[in-house]
């Protein structure tokens, strides 16, 4: 049992991904598909299970979901004066 979390499954090959591959990824036990596009699935599931499945499918990569922000140059306090 690995870490549960939200992951991106992205197809990096040429052309569209094989429908059979997408179906297999969708059906990894304990995996919930949160969103999708032509070349990607956003899923919530077990990292080890997803990695194991992805390894057997040519052209697919698994990446943890992360957030990016607007680069903010505003100065911020770290502490209050003593």
């Amino acid at each position: 049992m690995g870490t549960r979390g939200r992951f991106i499954l992205r197809y990096t090959g040429a052309g569209p991904p094989l429908a059979a591959h997408v179906t297999r990824l969708r059906n990894v036990p304990g995996t919930k598909v949160l969103d999708e596009s032509d070349r990607m699935l956003l899923v919530e599931g077990d990292q080890e299970d997803l990695e194991a499945t992805t390894r057997g499918l040519d052209g697919w990569v698994l990446t943890p979901e992360r957030t990016m922000s607007i680069p903010d140059p505003r100065k911020k306090i770290k502490d209050e004066p003593g």
Binding site: M68, S69, P71, R74, K78, D79, E80
Partner: protein, 516 residues
């Protein structure tokens, strides 16, 4: 910058995969890798016109990856000469031994606390000052013209700027804010006042703050020559014709100076057709730098007002960050919508993940060029996605005299200075060998939901560089008519990078320089 004189090892690859074939590389890229193959073991030399001399240590195949040595200062030159080449630093991996936690500092008053001159040195972020009743300082923020109080300003007062010790608050409807600074009168090293819109943000340094003080902000004059207008003037309304530009950001608000010609909301769970600004205003400001069509002093003008502007929203409503999934979905969509140039004024420190790298590579393989903000972490290494070798990374340029005295931009001055000593790369800009171009990004006046605002950041420098690129590319019909593939995006990148002019800064700060 002494480290720049020593050669380092890099791996040179095509945009995708490890061998240059028709589906992932242009003929020029394949030819360059092939020329390097013949240099294995030989002394350093240039393998193509404009490319720096490199020493080839190893070649996997005639058209495959090359392990080379070159000076970090010459990376931007290589990228400009061979934009279809992916340059990856050679990396060594080690056993992942967990780091041992070490104390950063000792809390004030604790046994063994460090002292200096008899006073306890308080550890930032560890010991909190006890709130002293009646020790708040209440003061007012108002317009320099007419004295109208300004509501909603974020006020940050530093008693010790180096250690970021201070207090912050927001002005109320009367323009007043109370800060608990531990005394009723306090010596302030720096006081920053950030207005949401309509005013220049203020900075006051080294003064004693007392209750009753009034801090005055300068209203925005749309005819003012900020750094964007100093370097680029006001573009003709036809500038940028035939280019389609996608802005991946907080969305774009339809303002009198802005025409949005479609878009997509990529935020999971939100209405895909709601690609207007999410309320933060950042995307609207970025879009105005590229494509605003106003005429000063009644409006403002971007660098390429004739581009077809499309909005791709990736920041949700009331959410601080954007998911990389949503960003990649937006980028894929911008590519399939036929955008020639895509602006990404967002990012984070850290590496580029495999999916993001593939999406940027996919855009390049589909004839689209991605511009990305280097990041605003006070000269830390370039962040992701800007550091991806297939994106153009943009640092922030500024110039003394292009903002009012007493504005926050005064605090962003940092050397080295350029050939023109008034020019400098801002103190907040991230820098490194991945920087391709620089653009004005400090004290920029642009569109904002409901009006205009001044913003600072590589977020502003990025659309400035993209807008200047759109101006230049609009005249290159032959490049724009190329099939939408890697060769097209390589040709666009090469043309743009070779039009840049150095301003006298080291390459890690300016890349190839500023487009002109």
């Amino acid at each position: 910058m002494a480290a720049n004189t020593k050669a380092s090892r890099y791996i040179l690859l095509p945009a995708r995969g490890v061998r240059a074939v028709a589906t992932n590389a242009s003929p020029a890229t394949a030819q360059f890798l092939s020329a390097l193959h013949k240099q294995v073991g030989a002394a350093a030399k240039a393998a193509a016109p404009g490319a720096p001399a490199v020493k080839v240590i190893e070649s996997v195949h005639d058209d495959g990856a090359k392990l080379v040595e070159l000076k970090p200062a010459e990376l931007a030159k290589l990228h400009a000469a061979q934009p279809g080449i992916r340059i990856v630093p050679e990396v060594f991996y080690y056993p992942a031994i967990a780091p041992r936690p070490v104390p950063i500092a000792t809390p004030a008053g604790a046994k063994g606390a460090k002292t200096k001159g008899g006073k306890t040195i308080k550890a930032a972020g560890i010991a909190k000052a006890a709130k002293v009743p009646g020790a708040s300082i209440t003061f007012t923020v108002a317009s320099k013209t007419g004295g109208t109080p300004i509501k909603g300003c974020t006020v940050v007062a530093f008693t010790d700027f180096a250690n970021r010790i201070g207090a912050q608050g927001t002005t109320n409807a009367a323009g007043q804010v109370s800060l608990n600074l531990g005394a009723s009168s306090k010596k302030i090293e720096r006081l920053y006042v950030y207005a949401r819109m309509s005013f220049w943000n203020g900075l006051k340094m080294n003064f004693t703050l007392t209750t009753g003080t009034t801090i005055k902000l300068v209203p925005i004059d749309l005819g003012y020559q900020d750094s964007l207008r100093h370097f680029y003037g006001n573009a003709p309304l036809t500038s940028g014709t035939s280019l389609k530009v996608g802005v991946i950001d907080t969305g774009i608000s339809p303002e009198p100076n802005l025409v949005i010609q479609g878009g997509f909301n990529a935020v999971t769970g939100e209405n895909p057709n709601d690609f207007g600004d999410n309320g933060e205003g950042h995307g609207t400001h970025v879009a105005g730098i590229i494509a605003a069509r106003g005429t000063p002093p009644n409006g403002i003008r971007g660098l390429a007002p004739a581009v077809t502007l499309r909005s791709y929203r990736v920041f949700g409503k009331n959410k601080p960050g954007a998911s990389n999934f949503d960003i990649l979905k937006a980028l894929d969509r911008a590519v399939s919508d036929g955008c020639d140039l895509v602006n990404m004024s967002l990012g984070s420190q850290g590496s580029v993940d495999a999916a993001t790298h593939d999406a940027i590579s996919h855009s390049r393989a589909s004839g689209t060029l991605v511009f990305a903000a280097a990041g605003n972490d006070d000269r830390l290494p370039v962040g992701a996605p800007a550091k991806d070798p297939m994106a153009l990374a943009i640092s922030a340029l500024s110039r003394k005299g292009t903002y009012p005295s007493g504005s926050v931009e005064v605090g962003d001055v940092m050397g080295p200075f350029g050939t023109d000593p008034k020019n400098y790369i801002t103190s907040f800009s991230d820098v490194g060998p991945e920087i391709d171009l620089t653009g004005p990004g400090d004290g920029i006046i642009s569109t904002f939901p409901g009006g205009y605002a001044v913003m600072d950041g590589t977020s502003m420098a990025c659309p400035a560089a993209l807008g200047a690129a759109a101006q230049l590319l609009a005249g290159q019909a032959a490049i724009l008519a190329m099939p939408r593939d890697q060769a097209r995006s390589d040709a666009m990148a090469q043309f743009v990078l070779q039009k840049a002019k150095g301003l006298g800064f080291p390459p890690q700060l300016q890349g190839q320089g500023m487009l002109s």
